[in-house]
Symmetry: C2
Subunit: 396 residues, 2 copies
């Protein structure tokens, strides 16, 4: 007597986790050091020491009743102010504390936004390849997911396809920047073109079309890449953020959303979002974590660690003749399968003890994703296995 939707979800559920589990089984047989597991996007660097110090200080300084109590469902005013001030400093924006709502991670933020704006039958568009959970989040609120194709040369969006896919029913477009699974960072031109299409469509259909810009990897960019701040380019933008990656806190579920003053119906929207935070069952972002991240807004996990891995893996694989999308951010690398059905390629990889995730999971068949949030030594050890795999496919 489970719901029809959850039964489907169970059967679709997570190729990523399945691969991770398979990797663990394999490690029992052949030894952990002989398995090259690129499946899971679990941070591999610890939270900065400053974060641990902040936690300890707060627990010692604050009265326990006050520290763990309810606050406004949108979060502590001083935490929201700290986040706004920090964004303003870094991105030249002009946010006030009232533009920030603290959330249970970015996943919480996206669900709260969808709860607030979606009526049954609305459409929400995403850009392929996309993080699979978007489909599930959109399904929670009974909207239809619509997929916009990428330009396969650059993995920036295919704008002709975008024009076709935005319809009168489109309520929102989800952007993930930098992109999981490709590692691509959207250029300023891309952002401007997305905004231009949506401005036109808003006018044409006479109602708002929101952007939800999901940015958990914002701090994980390389080669001087920078993500642009989307609210500057398009008024009806929600930005969602999580500290899971930037501070290596994925288990703690702490993040926020940004809602600019310029958004249509701003005061009602904030009221709706705040209530939705409660009604969805989050109530509020966890109180101790709110206070701790507010003290660490300029802290980052060790980005150089991931950058080293990125170069090692990207150069290693392309030198062997594999075709890869050049990763500019995140800790993922997207590689073209040497044969059309990437699932067969993944099986071939497994025979060399390499665990990769199929692109179909991200609505992009023919590719595989490698998460390089791993120890550098694993990448080094894996190169012989990749060489054997390349030889099997007659690359180079």
């Amino acid at each position: 007597m489970l719901s029809k939707q959850i039964l489907e979800d169970i059967s679709n559920s997570s190729a990523i986790r399945a691969m991770f589990t398979e990797g663990n089984e394999l490690a029992k047989k052949v030894g952990r050091e002989n398995v090259f597991d690129y499946s899971l996007g679990n941070p591999a660097t610890p939270a900065p020491q400053a974060f641990t110090d902040a936690l300890l200080d707060i627990i010692k300084e604050e009265d326990a009743l006050n520290l763990h109590s309810y606050m406004d469902n949108a979060g502590y005013e001083n935490v929201r102010r700290a986040v706004a001030d920090n964004l303003n400093e870094r991105f030249g924006t002009d946010f006030k504390w009232t533009n920030i709502i603290m959330t249970v991670g970015a996943a919480g933020a996206i669900n709260v936004i969808l709860k607030t704006i979606i009526d049954i039958g609305d459409e929400v568009a995403v850009f392929a390849p996309y993080f699979t959970e978007y489909r599930n989040y959109v399904g929670n609120w009974r909207a239809e997911l619509v997929t916009i194709a990428p330009d396969y040369r650059t993995f920036q969006p295919d704008f002709a396809d975008m024009e076709r896919k935005i319809t009168e029913k489109t309520k929102a477009v989800i952007i993930n920047n930098p992109v999981n699974p490709t590692g691509v960072v959207y250029s300023e031109e891309t952002i401007q073109r997305i905004a231009a299409v949506l401005e036109k469509k808003q006018k044409e259909y006479g109602h708002e079309i929101y952007i939800i810009s999901d940015e958990p990897y914002r701090e994980l960019v390389y080669d001087g890449n920078r993500t642009v701040f989307l609210t500057k380019y398009y008024k009806n933008t929600f930005v969602t953020y999580s500290f899971s990656k930037s501070l290596s806190l994925p288990g703690e579920r702490i993040g926020y959303m940004v809602v600019p003053d310029e958004m249509a119906d701003f005061p009602t929207m904030i009221a709706g979002l705040t209530i939705a935070n409660r009604i969805c069952g989050f109530i509020n972002a966890p109180s101790l974590m709110q206070k701790a991240v507010a003290r660490c807004l300029n802290e980052k996990t060790d980005v150089a660690f991931y950058d080293t891995n990125r170069k090692l893996l990207y150069h290693g694989l392309t030198d062997l003749g594999f075709e890869c999308v050049k990763p500019e951010g995140t800790f993922y690398l997207f590689m073209k399968s040497p044969e059309e059905d990437e699932k067969k390629f993944i099986e071939a990889g497994k025979r060399h003890h390499i665990m990769m995730v199929n692109g179909t999971t991200f609505h992009c068949p023919g590719y595989v994703r490698l998460a390089y949030c791993v120890q550098k030594e694993m990448i080094e050890r894996s190169m012989l296995a990749f060489a054997a795999l390349a030889a099997e496919y007659g690359l180079k």
Copy 2:
């Protein structure tokens, strides 16, 4: 362009918060000590020192990467085992770690359960008076809420009404025990009768009808009252729990659910709930808090504090001639309004600087709720105001 449902939610939203805000405004005018604010159910006693110590120890002992990382979406195995063992000790149950899923509070747990079992158009029954958020949680998943009337003499359920209200469409019944807002503890006989009605209806309709037993106040019982553990009486029972009240951690959002082995389709149900925990956007219960509560399962906030308040308020009010439901648990007292329209009574109370919440909020007009999670001195000071109010209504 907000959703129709959230616009309704905004307009209905929280008489409780409104009263709290009004109380604060009044305090600015007449002084905090002259306002008798019984509106909010915010714990008034701090988390036990053992909890603070546990937090500090864990942060110092554990490696930061491990401490804040992802775990199984259902929670840490050793935390789940500690919860199961503790329940077994206290309630003579026989749970294993696999019967426990750690959640983002009880609100998270209830939403995860509803996501897992509800198809559009299903009905979920609640017993009036009931915690208003149940209506919103049920609305999230597009089910219909059906209200079962109480027996107004005892505020245990009206079983004749229950028989009528459980239909072929009923997928679940939510029980809140001890009850917010009445403070009533369901007797073993009540539990047995609820179970008997549902067993009969399950047979009649040929499908499962689940109980969701929401027990955030389980530890807040007085006079030797004990809540019985519902899975012993009815197989298809989910128990949801939060540490918000028992450890005074409402801001931290940490709780769990219990799913007994005897539940229909147990393995599929656990798989569905675990995925729903992720899909709803919770992902997992916050990691540090999971580990901290696992060390404090025998700790409780200062129940004697609330018991003193309970007696003071109950005896004070009944001595003045007010008719009150005797509170056996929670930190709420439910009082009959001396005039039919309790909103007028609440206005009269405000003129004496007494802030109470209307029963209509809990689907029980003609009553008001007083939250006595306040300082004892406030209750003492308020008695003169209540005396004046009683005189106005010619009580005694």
